[in-house]
């Protein structure tokens, strides 16, 4: 079947979705996808980032589709014509979805381990605005401990439900899911149960944001300070391919992940033993450096180069702000001085 996306035509098999066809074409027409994951059945359709305009339904029924369609779940038809990046409507819709995804997001990238490889960062870089129109209080969730390996940050979650599908499709006893509803829907085990399964670590890899991160890597390093290498080992866990990317700092393995392709999908799932328990380079056969997109921040990895001394102009301001915070919060360890207390009471900080 022939489909045309942003003016570029391609022949595809019946049953191919618009998103898959666009990925075959490649380049700028590929819609962003936050919830679709080609290796997970039933994923997609939820985040609405990949909306496209179908300007011609098919050869048989050339009428345009009135609404924008989620390209990840809409099948191609013979003669279909699609506008992705070329359509103002589509661009506007993606901007809207980006804004919606960000209004309740904590925007804590500076302390988020996902920063640098976060799909939401990429999306907002492409479609977001620097200014927010949201002045209400952000929605937050109580933290939940889901076990020794994985850190759950529900406030960052965009509810793509990929991690639920991983648990459903790779493991036999899912213990976490989506609880509650509406904007309070959250990923949880409900009973604060540790997620304990040989393949649970893949939840980290499929998470498009920093909602699920690796506890063994937590706060260790920015991802772009690590050098990724393809590596493998003889893994005895049934179902694990043993092929990974190890992220090195000097001679130290800081974390192990699956091998992710250009759409940030893992090529194959790996077991928890590979991911969490083998941080000794001797355990691995290092194949060579892992290639990344040209403009990925991971390629900006020039920590080996000598840096000039940088003066940060905002530093003074930051220090002043800290001092103000100390007064406002009045930490018990550093109590306010007497005259400061007086001032504080009068509201003059």
């Amino acid at each position: 079947m022939k489909v045309t996306i942003d003016g570029q035509s391609i022949e595809v098999e019946p049953g191919t979705t618009i998103l898959q066809a666009a990925r075959m074409i490649g380049g700028e027409s590929v819609p962003p996808a936050m919830c679709y994951y080609s290796k997970l059945k039933g994923s997609g359709g939820k985040c609405r980032c990949c909306l496209v305009e179908v300007s011609k339904g098919s050869e048989a029924d050339p009428r345009p589709m009135p609404k924008l369609m989620a390209s990840c779940v809409t099948g191609c038809m013979e003669g279909m014509e699609v506008n992705s990046k070329n359509s103002d409507r589509v661009r506007e819709a993606r901007q809207s979805v980006t804004e919606f995804l960000l209004i309740n997001h904590p925007l804590d990238c500076p302390i988020c381990d996902q920063a640098g490889e976060c799909d939401l960062q990429d999306l907002s870089f492409e479609h977001g605005k620097s200014k927010t129109r949201f002045i209400e209080e952000k929605r937050t969730f109580e933290p939940e401990d889901i076990g020794p390996n994985i850190q759950l940050h529900m406030n960052r979650c965009i509810l793509c439900q990929r991690c639920v599908q991983v648990a459903d499709q790779l493991t036999d006893k899912r213990v976490h899911g989506v609880l509650d509803r509406g904007d309070h829907a959250n990923i949880s085990t409900c009973i604060s149960k540790a997620i304990d399964n040989e393949f649970s670590g893949n939840m980290i890899d499929v998470c498009p944001v920093g909602a699920l991160t690796d506890k063994t890597f937590r706060f260790k390093s920015r991802v772009w300070f690590n050098k990724p290498f393809n590596a493998h080992r003889e893994c005895t866990t049934p179902g694990c391919c043993g092929k990974t990317t190890v992220w090195m700092f000097g001679n130290e393995i800081q974390r192990v992940t699956g091998r992710k392709d250009q759409y940030h999908e893992v090529e194959d799932f790996i077991c928890n033993e590979c991911r969490f328990d083998h941080k000794d380079p001797a355990d691995w056969v290092i194949e060579g450096p892992r290639k990344f997109d040209k403009d990925s921040v991971i390629n900006q990895n020039n920590y080996t180069r000598k840096l000039d001394t940088v003066h940060i102009a905002t530093e003074e301001g930051i220090l002043k702000g800290r001092e103000q915070d100390r007064k406002k919060i009045s930490m018990t360890a550093i109590p306010l001085k007497k005259e400061e207390q007086e001032e504080f009471k009068n509201g003059n900080l």
């Binding site: 099948g75 209400e136 509406g182």
Partner: protein
Amino acid sequence: MSKKILLDKINVPGIKTYEVYRREGGYASVEKAIKSMTPDEVVEEVKKSGLRGRGGAGFPAGMKWSFIDKKSGKPRHLVCNADESEPGTFKDRYLMEFIPHLLIEGMITSSFALGANRSYIYIRGEYMWVFKILERAIAEAKAAGWLGKNILGSGYDLELHVHCGAGAYICGEETALIESLEGKRGNPRIKPPFPAVSGLWANPTVVNNVETIAAVPWIVNNSGDDYAKIGIGRSTGTKLISASGNIKNPGVYEIELGLSVDEFMNSDEYLGGMSSNRPLKALVPGGSSVPILPADLIFKTANGEDRLMTYESLSDGGFATGSMLGSGGFIVYDDTACIVRNTWNFSRFYHHESCGQCTPCREGTGWLEKVLHRIENGHGREEDIDLLWSIQSKIEGNTICPLGDAASWPVAAAIRHFRDEFEYHVRFPERIKNRDHFVNEPFEKVKHLASKQTV
């Protein structure tokens, strides 16, 4: 007196019971269909009747039936949507509570037409006492041989059960309803595939509203053509309207489509005019999701024609000057009502009922509510009105199911027709701090204050 089809026998004492219902001619359509018609003939009659889905969208029922996949050889199901939760709508409950056997008769005849051997009535969990009424009615019908194996010796089998929800407006959306019937969270499915191909347990399924199914016996007993003679144009037959708000006689009414809004509102046979002598301010004609109409667009359309109770006339003028018949939830407001407060109220409802599956609805409905809450409570900013407009336009059309649209339309319409009232709220926060701020000081009286600054 206009023609009554659904509520014709409603005042017969004991019509709730099987004996009286049967004595009054009930279950005749089952006999007629099973003994003298083929399933396709029944579908054909319903098609001819022009009966349109009474749940809100108004899709032709016969056409929906004809889409059901009969070739796959999979079992087929009919599911009745009794998850009535649209604010302003309470007609299905009335029908099921007071004449339950009519729905059951309709279910049997319709299931026969679709070749469904296992059908369900999905009722909202809050209607628990109606759930019990239906369970008993089904047991009575089964005892009398209208359900089970080999009905009337025809070889046709049908199992009919009631299934109860548990408090989720979204389960009124047909695919969410199916998910809920499968014992899952009520998250709408992505379409296609449509339920007619892959619905309940991946089998071909038709989902119809209570009122739609209840109209089928009459159509079969008489004919599709007879039904099509009632009403005007493509709005055929009768419709149940649930009327509420500031009117003299709230309640459920059966009207012939084509009745004028004026007559419906003001005649003593129906609503009997306003409940007090306050003037009419606004009308929501079809449940909370449809656009609100200001007083000058209620009885006349924008081009001066009489506004009629039909699908077409109520939507005349599009969203700019029209609305929709929707589910028939007719809410009338007098001038003590605050449109901003009411819009916030609806927004809170949609925020509460969003399933949380897709981004624009999950995040957008909450945002709308928060902004509206601020405006209503005197913390609005001038730019919030445009912000609301922008948010609703970003939700609309971008969601998996129509709940996103339903949350957007009331906000858009309120701003379109009552923008000055929003401005008043923003500019005079001290005047609106009590929740009944328009009771003693209707907006008409203070309107000049808002308009003064809009030079």
